[in-house]
């Protein structure tokens, strides 16, 4: 059985395709969580807090919860395959961590969680970092929001003429990689799940313009933070690369309106 430790879009999309169970680990007491964990073959630890202005909230929801789940695994199911959903925000390169004093509170909480996982002694454990996910949900990512604005309002606003780039991976592809890792016989301690291709917001707006002749594109100059978007594909090649065409995924999402 594949067990997710929290709800959310990744878990729900995964569950539609593959047999799995979702629990809310933060709402279960230790006995209840132990019961859920002891029967799992694979645990996907996805429970996490992404937005907060409070450092302690990140520590509580990301680090302390991870530590609690790991401790219970070690006690009731030490052979379990444990997949910790980590974050690209902790990296400055493919396999180089950002200096800790440059990490924001979220990244720090994910970094110490990954660090804890690596030192936990669980034999079948891996940390997965995903590049920017195209969820197809305007509340969750900027690409989907652009598409929604184009479809509903016929206008979008790009920051700095859309020069910022991302390595983008559609959620459906990410779920396939996640399933591959669930079925893999041997796990590396870390995987970077990426497309290996940099796409600018300008390129996305060009796709939108081609599909919506009425689209007006506005520009806003704003100082923005650089997001790491240049990654090696070595991990996805090892897993067996899943090819996709981002343009098609964008067009499919556009047509859902």
């Amino acid at each position: 059985m594949i067990l997710f430790t929290g709800g959310g879009k990744i878990a729900s999309v995964f569950q539609k395709k593959y047999e799995s169970k979702i629990v809310s680990s933060r709402n279960l007491n230790d006995d209840e969580l132990s019961d859920a964990i002891k029967n799992a073959q694979t645990i996907i630890h996805n429970s996490a807090l992404i937005y907060s202005s409070n450092f302690d909230d990140f520590i509580e929801s990301n680090f302390l919860l991870t530590r609690r789940v790991i401790k219970i695994c070690k006690k009731v199911n030490p052979k379990v395959r444990f997949i910790n959903l980590s974050s690209m925000s902790i990296l400055s390169g493919d396999d180089t961590y950002l200096p800790v004093d440059q990490m924001n509170d979220y990244a720090y909480s994910k970094y110490i969680s990954e660090n804890y996982c690596l030192r936990s002694g669980l034999e079948n454990l891996t940390n997965l970092r995903f590049s920017t996910i195209f969820y197809g949900d305007s509340k969750r990512d900027g690409i989907s929001k652009l598409i929604e604005d184009s479809n509903i309002h016929n206008e979008i606003t790009l920051l700095n003429k859309g020069i910022a780039k991302r390595d983008i991976i559609p959620l459906r592809i990410l779920v396939e990689y996640l399933y591959k890792i669930c079925k893999s016989n041997s796990l590396k301690s870390k995987y970077n799940i990426v497309s290996g291709k940099e796409t600018s917001f300008k390129e996305i707006s060009d796709i939108l313009k081609e599909n919506n002749r009425k689209l007006k594109i506005f520009n806003k100059a704003l100082e923005t933070q650089n997001i790491l978007c240049s990654f090696s594909k070595k991990d996805v090649i090892e897993l067996g690369e899943i090819h996709f065409d981002l343009r098609k995924d964008i067009e499919i999402y556009m047509n859902t309106y």
Binding site: F55, V100, D101
Partner: protein, 211 residues
């Protein structure tokens, strides 16, 4: 009479409090130096040490550095810690009164011998009995019919970062017991991150081996 001998708290108030809670009431307390630097609570550690009954506080090299306003060593990491902790330190007058050495029965109690880092494999000719700290490693060493006990570190154990070491001396039996407590170091690291310690400092605590 129960005597608690501890050293190298290094601004780690949670570890200091855990040790005191674990041992309960003692008749006498001897700190072998280095209450300050590294951790975020140097002021509070000095206050707590001074508040203990029958407390003798020995001067360590980090108190000397805080008094002079300059860390003399070349270690860049220690310099980074010093730059972070010293500007916030407000207890110069209090630590200036720490003593260089004190005596407990047959033992000379001081921060270290000959200004050196004494490790378990250090060859040293003992001419008397010692209780020391400084190297952050707890051990017992003997030769020439004398004994040296290193109390280890309360706040920055250099073997296992999440272990507290100290000594208990029983004046009736004359026995020195080496004590150890494993504790949760993570809240200390989180506080350092909150206080914007530089990476070189955070990495030291994050990546050090744990029990």
């Amino acid at each position: 009479m129960k005597v608690l001998i501890y050293s190298d708290v290094h601004g780690n108030l949670p570890a200091f409090e855990i040790m005191l809670e674990k041992e309960g009431e003692c008749d006498k307390y001897i700190c072998l130096g280095d209450l300050v630097n590294y951790g975020p609570w140097s002021n509070a550690c000095v206050d707590l040490a001074l508040s203990l009954p029958n407390s003798t506080l020995v001067m360590g090299n980090h108190e000397e550095a805080f008094i002079s306003g300059k860390y003399p060593g070349s270690n860049k990491m220690v310099q980074a810690f010093f730059q972070k902790t010293w500007p916030k330190f407000k207890r110069i007058k209090e630590i200036s009164l720490f003593v260089n050495e004190t005596v407990l029965d047959q033992f000379s109690c001081l921060h270290t011998v000959n200004d050196s880092y004494i490790y378990p494999d250090t060859q040293i000719e003992l001419a008397k009995n010692y209780l020391i700290g400084h190297s952050h490693y707890q051990f017992r060493y003997s030769n020439n019919d004398f004994e040296l006990f290193n109390a280890g570190s309360v706040g920055q154990n250099r073997k296992y970062i999440n272990e507290i070491n100290y000594l208990i001396y029983d004046t009736e039996t004359k026995i020195v017991s080496m004590k150890s407590i494993v504790y949760d170091i993570d809240p200390v690291i989180h506080q350092m991150k909150k206080e914007n310690y530089p990476s070189v400092c955070l990495d030291y605590y994050i990546n050090k081996e744990r029990r």
